[in-house]
């Protein structure tokens, strides 16, 4: 079921204006994927996909990513239960980035730190630029230690 065709990139016109999926992965074999909450429009996370993660996401209708830390395809929510059901997938003009609009199962969170969105801090701009980050969520949605136990933190310095 994961054998959908990824087409060759024959011309700019076809890539930009055509109806065939002809994705471009980076030198590392990955493309960025923006995932938003289909109901609120909030950006939940920025993930990465290799060709296999893209195929699995499209065919199963559940988000799969490639973990750069673990060097493996990862079914989002397999550990935490926070499965992301794809409401709509979109590809961008030059087909090197994906946008998933999803509905999150369980507690509805998507961030391993425990927040609903990975983007839980605002960065000051304009005259306030350079000031401290401001937290945008009043509290964590879940306790990451209760969910992930002693699994290694994916954040790398």
């Amino acid at each position: 079921m994961t054998d959908i065709q990824l087409h060759p990139r024959r011309s700019v016109a076809e890539v930009e204006e055509g109806a065939t999926l002809a994705p471009k992965f980076g030198a590392d074999g990955l493309m960025p994927c923006v995932t938003t909450d289909a109901a609120t429009g909030e950006v939940l996370m920025l993930g990465w996909m290799n060709a296999e993660a893209l195929r699995l996401t499209l065919t199963t209708g559940e988000a799969h990513y490639f973990s750069r830390t673990h060097r493996a395809v990862w079914h989002k929510g397999a550990t935490s239960g926070l499965i992301q059901r794809v409401i709509e997938a979109r590809i961008d003009d030059d087909q090197d980035a994906l946008w998933l609009r999803v509905e999150v199962a369980g507690a509805g969170a998507s961030c391993h730190v425990g927040y609903g969105s990975c983007f839980y801090r605002a960065v000051p701009t304009g005259p306030a630029a350079g000031g401290p980050l401001r937290f945008t969520e009043a509290a964590k949605t879940f306790d990451p230690r209760a969910v992930y136990g002693d699994a290694p933190n994916p954040t790398i310095l």
Copy 2:
């Protein structure tokens, strides 16, 4: 005005839970930036920033990106007039991706092909996976030839 401090990454706890901006750029010196329409929540584009583009974006309050095609920092809208005013900037958990919520000037479009969003095609999922892409915007917002003339297309095969 572009000399705001980007802090060193001393600990995972500080990067994830702290209030200091300590961004991580990839091996190529770039981080992905998701840009959404502040009013509608629609994802307009997925761009890239180097440290200078990030500093310029935060201090001026207008989106600047790094063009991988032209190998240069690029003030979005400088040619087209479609300036992106930053309503809010957010950084993600491990500080290697940015989210900009913007208000677009002029025609309100953000895609060089002429559409409002770069993500103007839906990719079928589930039982329909592998089928043709579906266009999500009825018509282009502007004529790219009238705006960009003979400038080279940034899409690379």
